[in-house]
Each structure stands twice: as structure tokens, then as C-alpha cells.
């Protein structure tokens, strides 16, 4: 396996990486100038990017179309509530809760990953609902009412906002970089083979289960971190929201609109989704109809998403994961 040093890349890709690095630097110092509202909104955008990137790993690269990722968003939140209640400081709890969720994902993987595509999609959703119901029985959650992480109120609002913002920024950067590394490596090639033809992948000696399991667990931890960060900024945990299927719908929308199975597609999709929410969010139910129409239009006319615009012009996909096996 060869490394791809920056110098060996297309110049457009190199520019993109520099652009991303500059954006990261600007975003890191932005809270010093930006309003509290802007910081909150950007935190939400980072969370969306994390969700989209994780779902793309699952569906775009491993062929695992899950509509049950909210199980990990909710479980992460629930674990965090429990840990803070047990006396753990809330900020470390964000990450420890997500890692615990990874253990649940590991346990679940043994049976959900043995299912075929359609069964997998439905089973993941059903399991998410089942976990939600169980979590609602926990007295601390108070059924549908939910609970608040009051320990977070011990911090000054400004300091809390800034900490969550920076944590979200760092985690997003880590996730995007990590999935880049993962996809560039052997796991990425094997996942792509599985997505193309799972049985043929097994026939050439790829342990399809292990590859899918690795990606499933990583994506679950990723969704859980995004969920706990969201909870830290929202403070209130309600099973209906934490385990809501809307999380998976958001992920699906962002990835499909951005370009499934491409590296920057989900990030573009998250930006578009964020913009749609900002511009049309005040229209209530009509906003949802608008999002639906956008999804339909993309499915009909741009099935490869925003990145497809590049590809249709015959240009190379930006930051493509192809050719990683080139010698």
C-alpha cells in the first residue's frame, strides 16, 4: 500500500486541503469575534457535518444503509445523563459516554450485520425504538418528559458555549481526518469492494464481517459523540428527541444531496442542509415540505449529489478515495 503524499495529489486537491486547513484556523479563532448566536449555529453545523460524515462511512463506503443511527445519538445522550448523574464532570462525559455507546454497537453488530440490506435498515430502526422505550423506563429520565444536565449550569454560559464549540470543531476535524485516513487505507479498499459486491469480496478473501463491523462501530461512536455534543449544547435530554428518527433522516438527506460515497459530498450536503434550515426554518411545516422537494429534485436530476456536478463535467472527483491501490 502506498502513501499519498500531498505532493503526489492533484493540485486542486492540494488547494482544497489548504482551504480546509485555513477554514479550521479561522473557525478556531472565530469565537473571539463572532456573536454568541453565530457560535451556537456553527456548533450545530459541525454536528451536522459529523453526522453526515459518519453516515457516509456506513452507507457510502460499507453499503450499510442504516435508518437507526439515532439509537447511538440517543444512547450517547442517555449515557451522558447517567454519568453526569453519577458525578462525572460533563465535558469528559461527552466522550466517555460515546465510547460506551461503541460497546453497545459492538454487541449489536453481531446480529444486525448478518442481515441483508432491507432487513438491516428496518432492524436498526426497530432496535432504536426499542432502546428508546427502555430508556424511557429509567426513573431519572421521567418517561417522555426527559431530564436536564443541570451540572452544565455550573459553568458560565459564555465559557460553556466556547468549550462546546471548540470541542465540536476539534471532533469534527478529527472525524473528517480520521475517515480520510481510514478510507485511504486497506479498510477503505475493502469496504469499497464490499459495497460493489459483498459475495465477490468474500470470494477474494476479504473478511466482510470484520470490515463492516469496524466501520459500524466507528460510525456509531461518531454519531454518539455528535449526539452528546448536541446534548451538551441543548442541555435537555428527551427520549423522543434523542432517539428520534429525524437524525437518520437528516444524515440520509445530507449524504444523498451531497454525493454518497464521495469524500466531500457529505460536508457539502451538511452545508446545504444547514443553509436550508437557516433560510427556510421559520416557515414551519412548509420548510419540511421544501426539504422534501429538494430531496426529490436531487433524486431525479442529480442522483450523484452536488459532487455529481463535477463528475458530469468529466472532472475528477475532488479528494477521491479511488486509486488508493495504485502502484
Amino acid at each position: 500500500m502506498t502513501k499519498t503524499p500531498l505532493l503526489g495529489m492533484a493540485s486542486a486537491d492540494r488547494r482544497l486541503i489548504w482551504l480546509a486547513a485555513s477554514a479550521l484556523a479561522v473557525l478556531a479563532i472565530l469565537p473571539a469575534f463572532g456573536s454568541a448566536l453565530a457560535v451556537d449555529k456553527l456548533t450545530y453545523l459541525f454536528i451536522l457535518i459529523m453526522f453526515a460524515t459518519m453516515w457516509n462511512l456506513l452507507a457510502g463506503y460499507a453499503g450499510l444503509v442504516s435508518v437507526g443511527q439515532q439509537a447511538f445519538v440517543g444512547l450517547g445522550g442517555y449515557a451522558m445523563v447517567r454519568m453526569v448523574d453519577a458525578g462525572l464532570p460533563p465535558f469528559p462525559a461527552i466522550f466517555i459516554a460515546a465510547l460506551c455507546t461503541g460497546v453497545v454497537a459492538w454487541a449489536m453488530s453481531w446480529f444486525v450485520l448478518r442481515m441483508k440490506a432491507g432487513e438491516f435498515a428496518i432492524a436498526t430502526w426497530v432496535i432504536a425504538e426499542a432502546i428508546r422505550a427502555m430508556v424511557s423506563f429509567d426513573p431519572i429520565i421521567q418517561g417522555e418528559t426527559g431530564t436536564s444536565i443541570t451540572a452544565l449550569n455550573a459553568y458560565a454560559p459564555e465559557m460553556r458555549r466556547l468549550t462546546i464549540y471548540l470541542l465540536a470543531l476539534a471532533t469534527t476535524a478529527l472525524m473528517v481526518w480520521g475517515s480520510w485516513k481510514l478510507l485511504q487505507g486497506r479498510t477503505g479498499a475493502e469496504a469499497q469492494a464490499i459495497r460493489d459486491d459483498e459475495e465477490a469480496a468474500a470470494s477474494v478473501g476479504i473478511s466482510t464481517f470484520q470490515v463492516k463491523q469496524r466501520i459500524y462501530i466507528l460510525a456509531s461512536i461518531g454519531c454518539a459523540v455528535a449526539g452528546t455534543l448536541w446534548l451538551a449544547s441543548a442541555i435537555t435530554f428527551q427520549p423522543r428527541t434523542g432517539f428520534g428518527v429525524q437524525w437518520s433522516v437528516f444524515m440520509l438527506f445530507m449524504v444523498l444531496v451531497g454525493g454518497i460515497g464521495t469524500f466531500i459530498g457529505p460536508i457539502l450536503g451538511a452545508l446545504l442542509f444547514f443553509a436550508l434550515q437557516e433560510i427556510f426554518g421559520d416557515f414551519g411545516a412548509w420548510y419540511l415540505a421544501g426539504v422534501g422537494i429538494v430531496a426529490i429534485l436531487f433524486a431525479l436530476y442529480l442522483p450523484r449529489g452536488i459532487v455529481g456536478l463535477w463528475l458530469d463535467k468529466g472532472r475528477d472527483e475532488p479528494l477521491t478515495m479511488r486509486k488508493r491501490l495504485g502502484i
Binding site: 469492494a193 459486491d197 465477490a200 470470494s203 478473501g205 476479504i206 491501490l325
Partner: protein, 244 residues
């Protein structure tokens, strides 16, 4: 041709699709470096049997040994590492990858040995100009050549080829069989072939399946056409029973 060692030993194997028994208590022994053609009508259980050998379809009963080692419980990817490699029906290349990537991923996951991307290209020179093309855009004959090369780079001791000539032009079939002939004596081959003439001329042993059982097993040079045709349709056994 063969060394006398038993490469594959299948004992009382049963393969099910739900309630249906596609392979019914089948026993079979194949010697090292033997070249076997497996024939039979559609639905006879050939593909299920091949998938059972490759570990892609579970044995509901029975067991399978490779050179005396029980591999019944090994999943497909571990059987590849043990030396059983299937080139599946329909070629099934990784369409989004280039031909080279298709070969490399198999080379990385398979066994080490004489077969590499370079030596596979020597055996199948027709794929050299295709190496950097996406596998999804190849013709049927090209895909078959790549699929066999992909199986080879995993360094199989037992090569399973399902539906070698299905959907290929006669010229493409010739090309594929010429390359396969060069593998004779280097590995055990089990080939599913619909073209009876081709099967009889290529293989040193002909096995015919009908309705999940072995109807006929013999040397194609000795067997008569009539024997084979009868076995193919399972005529001698099922007098009176009609199959629509």
C-alpha cells in the same frame, strides 16, 4: 495428471434454500490437480454446490475437507486463505474499481505464492491494456478473464469457476479456455460449464448433477453422449415423474 492426494473431500453434504434441498446428501472426492467439469440443467444445484465449497453457502449437514483438514466451519474469506477460491457466477467484479485494483485487493487478501498481479497478467495478456480501466465498463469476455485472474492472484490450490462461458461469444470462450489450459497440473480445478462439448474436451472428469444429486461421474473420454444426456435430464431415475 493427479498426484493421488485428495484435494477436496465432501461427505454427505446437504445444501438448503429454506425448505428446498438444492444439494441432497452429496459425497464427492476430488484429487489434487484434477480438472473436473460440473454439468447439469438449471436448478440442478451446481451453483449451490460451488458456493458450499467456497463457504458462501452453509452446509446444513455433512462436512468438507481440504487436503485432509476439515474446513466445514471456515467462512468464505478463511477458505480463500486455506486455498479454495471461487470465481463466482456472473463474474462479479468490483465495478467501481479499476482492473488493477480488483487484482490487488485479491492479492492482498489471498495466499502468498507464485501468482501475483504480474504473473496473472502473463497468463491473461488480454487484461494488460485494461489494467487502469474501471472494471464496470468491460465486455463479458474481458470481465471473465479479469475474474479468473482475480481468483488466481489469491494463489488457490483449488480453483472453482462457476459458469465459465455463460454469456460469452465463442471467440471469448476460446480465449478463456486457452488460458485455463495453461493452469492444468498447477491446481485443482472445478469448472461449471453449460457447453457439453467444451466440458468434455477440457476436463478429465465429468460430473453431472440433477436435482441435487450426482447422476454421473466419469471420464469424458469413456462416457457416451447418451449416458450424459440421460444423466443431465435425470431420465433413468424418475420414470413416471414429470417435471414441468
Amino acid at each position: 495428471m493427479t498426484t493421488g492426494k485428495i484435494a477436496l473431500l465432501l461427505v454427505d453434504a446437504v445444501g438448503r434454500h429454506g425448505q428446498l434441498q438444492a444439494v441432497k446428501s452429496l459425497s464427492l472426492s476430488i484429487a489434487e490437480n484434477e480438472v473436473v467439469a460440473l454439468i447439469g440443467a438449471n436448478g440442478a444445484g451446481k451453483t449451490t454446490l460451488m458456493r458450499m465449497l467456497a463457504g458462501l453457502h452453509p452446509l446444513a449437514e455433512g462436512r468438507l475437507a481440504l487436503f485432509g483438514n476439515d474446513v466445514t466451519a471456515l467462512p468464505a474469506h478463511d477458505r480463500v486463505k486455506a486455498g479454495i477460491v471461487l470465481s463466482p457466477e456472473g463474474r462479479r467484479l468490483f465495478g467501481d474499481m479499476t482492473v488493477r485494483e480488483n487484482l490487488m485487493i485479491a492479492a492482498e487478501n489471498g495466499r502468498r505464492g507464485d501468482w501475483t498481479v504480474a504473473t496473472a497478467c502473463d497468463a491473461f495478456p488480454q487484461i494488460v491494456p485494461l489494467l487502469d480501466r474501471p472494471a464496470g465498463g468491460l465486455s463479458g469476455g474481458q470481465r471473465q478473464a479479469v475474474a479468473i485472474a482475480r481468483a488466481l492472484v489469491a494463489n488457490p490450490s483449488v480453483l472453482l469457476l462457476d459458469e465459465v462461458s455463460l454469456g460469452l461469444s465463442p471467440a471469448a470462450v476460446d480465449g478463456v479456455y486457452q488460458s485455463l489450459a495453461a493452469l492444468r497440473g498447477r491446481m485443482t480445478m472445478v469448472v461449471v460449464e453449460q457447453d457439453l462439448t467444451r466440458a468434455m474436451s477440457f476436463a478429465e472428469r465429468l460430473i453431472c448433477m440433477a436435482e441435487g444429486v450426482l447422476e454421473l461421474d466419469g471420464n469424458p473420454a469413456v462416457l457416451t453422449r447418451e449416458e450424459i444426456t440421460n444423466a443431465y435430464f435425470g431420465i433413468h431415475k424418475t420414470t413416471g415423474a414429470s417435471h414441468a
